[in-house]
Assembly symmetry: C2
Homo-oligomer: 419 residues x 2
């Protein structure tokens, strides 16, 4: 499949016609539009709908919004219909309406470099999981002195509720938090800036349609409810977390900010890259049995650009196929007791770490809690994040002659507020 859009057929672009992810952008005129991406351009769905080139069956205001929530709430038939209409408008031999009208193109197409990406959806609630086996073993070894998995781990896709109010879009600076820290050997905590700022590389599922309170869902229903996937950097303060997290879990160590990529990649675009879960170490209970290949073959990479450095250093290369539980399993478990899931709920996979040290998805693991320096280009070295360092995640699935990309999820750490 090819597109008439200049550059969209490049083997390097994250956004060929096979992708068509969804997002929201502030356009050069200051308005905010729902958009898709193709090559170096964004496509305004808001303008296409206004020009009656997208049949959305909803009085023409499905995309006349600051975000995708209304669209997401409409369900998988309309998601697929819009995607198919977009393909038709952008394909080389498709519907000529946009291709042949410069008048329309100037209203619909914008260079990505000319727009500012916004949070693609209003996050209803954010739940973070813990589905990477290697990560769970690594953290256990460092935080609890044992690399054995917790007793429940092979049965439950362990998750906890995170904070939705501080989920921000890629590009937003994140301020280092102050908090309670217990220095090694001290008998009292002190208050001050976190000294162990970290990243967590995750993939997120964006819930499109919900369920009713009291009504559990099946794995197949969960998969149907997922609108698409985004990159997540679940920024973490390891020293705040270590002191606070027992007995009730992470709280302020995770509450100061979570970055997500600007682009939600659809299930349809990722369908060719589905891959099996790894074999079960112990059988899952029936409600958690996957009905199809539950993971995706998505390459993931984390770059660290130290303050003043001219070039990034790749500190992690891994793949989403390393996980033990799928996001459909996690969503099913989330609702199994009757918990209501809503449009805009965001579920994080948990940190994605492969078995090799170069595949660890957090600095905690890469530096083994600060014991090992991570060498960066230009002579710098890091254990945790220093002020003004930039962390950038990317992800892509490799097709035959094209890639399905997630764009990037980037953020720079600012110094803590002086208190």
């Amino acid at each position: 499949m090819n597109s008439w859009i200049e550059g969209a057929d490049s083997r390097e672009t994250h956004f060929p016609i096979q992708n068509l992810p969804f997002g929201a952008a502030k356009l050069p005129d200051g308005s905010i539009a729902c958009v898709s991406a193709i090559g170096s351009f964004v496509v305004s769905l808001t303008a296409l709908e206004a020009a009656k080139l997208l049949d959305t069956g909803s009085d023409g205001d499905l995309f006349n919004q600051d975000n995708l929530n209304n669209f997401m709430a409409r369900g998988s038939n309309i998601w697929r219909s819009v995607r198919n209409q977009l393909v038709d408008l952008l394909e080389l031999n498709g519907k000529p309406d946009l291709k042949n009208s410069s008048r329309l193109q100037v209203k619909v197409l914008f260079l990505q470099s000319d727009v500012e990406m916004k949070l693609p959806f209003t996050v209803a609630e954010f739940t973070d999981f813990y589905a990477g086996k290697q990560h769970a073993q690594n953290v256990g070894a460092m935080f609890r002195g044992v690399s054995d998995l917790p007793a429940n781990w092979l049965h439950i896709p362990i998750g906890y509720n995170g904070r939705a109010s501080t989920v921000v879009v890629s590009g937003t600076d994140i301020r280092r938090p102050n908090g309670q820290l217990k220095p090694l050997g001290a008998d009292q905590p002190v208050f001050g800036p976190s000294n162990k700022m970290d990243v967590e590389l995750e993939l997120g599922a964006v819930v499109g349609t919900g369920n009713k309170m009291g009504t559990p869902i099946t794995i197949a229903e969960a998969d149907e409810m997922i609108f698409g996937y985004v990159l997540i950097n679940d920024w973490s303060s390891r020293d705040i977390q270590a002191w606070e997290y027992q007995p009730l879990g992470p709280f302020q160590g995770k509450a100061f900010g979570t970055s997500i990529g600007a682009w939600i990649v659809t299930k349809d675009a990722l369908e060719p890259f589905r891959t099996q879960l790894p074999p079960r170490d112990l059988p899952n209970l029936p409600y958690l049995e996957e009905t199809k290949p539950g993971l995706y073959d998505i390459n993931l990479k984390v770059d660290l650009t130290p303050k003043n450095a001219s070039k990034p250093t790749t500190i992690c290369q891994t793949n989403y196929n390393r996980m033990y539980y799928s996001l459909a399993q996690q969503l099913t478990h989330h609702a199994i007791g009757g918990c209501q899931m809503n449009t805009g709920d965001l579920l994080g996979s948990g940190t994605i770490s492969g078995t090799k040290p170069s595949e660890f998805g957090s600095l905690l693991e890469l530096s083994w809690n600060g014991e090992r320096q991570i060498e960066c280009t230009g002579g710098e070295a890091r254990t945790f994040i220093e002020d003004y360092d930039r962390l950038t995640m990317t992800g892509w699935a490799q097709g035959e002659g094209y890639i399905i990309g997630f764009g990037e999820c980037t953020g720079c750490i600012l110094p803590a507020i002086k208190m």
Copy 2:
């Protein structure tokens, strides 16, 4: 201070003119209105605003809403102004406009028995704390075999993020969840209905105004941001919780439902009942030092009505003044690392248990994890909640000749869905 409303001066009513809590109600005509309560009546703020008897400085639509969120977001000056205008309209010797107009009264006043109370605000996010020392010691003894407080407990008002989507108003039935359980002595978990359904008696702070991401708040600012207080029943499934909660905290054991009282009692109404925190066992870090009496003298009671019983049995009588941390301290800690708090955030105090066994605020503690039967009126006995049992919480502050009541927070447990 007296009111011209019939019965509002009774020493028994929860809603004398000194109270004037806020809520939302479905009126007999099917419309939903923002309301206050006086004696046996609700007062439609929506109708008062429409009749131009409330100056809300906002084009007359502050209460033309299904809930209080817009009002809450406006801040403490308008909260107090509306309250003062209500007092003036309802006081015996106040402004005569409502008192002297039957035409207005039929639009503004409704019997509480004729309306259906709705969720008073849209819950943005729900955070649950753990600020009762006796409760923490009791749970530690039962779940972890030690009654010592966790090492961080005297320094941090421990909290975790709960689930907002299943917060419901008093009167809503709650369905017993299914989930993973690990029977005593079993080596594998099983799936089925929870056998240890419990209540948790809590007081909740409703956040009216928020802070910006990255901007911590002081204790004084936190107190100013709190719109008012509600009763909370943080329903808990102890067997699901016990198997899932390590290492990342409670999840499905708490996600199936949380009930709140229909009435938000204002800080102004509770001001005469402020009371000091208990002495600190260890000094708090400066950011957590309370600047005024941080607790309130609020009597609390939990009644259990077994299925088919004609009368409730009071199973717990305690007081909010038993807590170790105030809700202002908890809110301050919540935001100290830069977490953004929003209008509609709900913070639960944690289970309120006094030192005497009759003051324990959960069945887990009252039955000592099922070891001890709780005798109920009419020959029934309980350790945990059985299907069709009703749990009802009430709370009130005792003034001189009047009480400031919270109404009740009640719910009935329905059988689990068959799966």
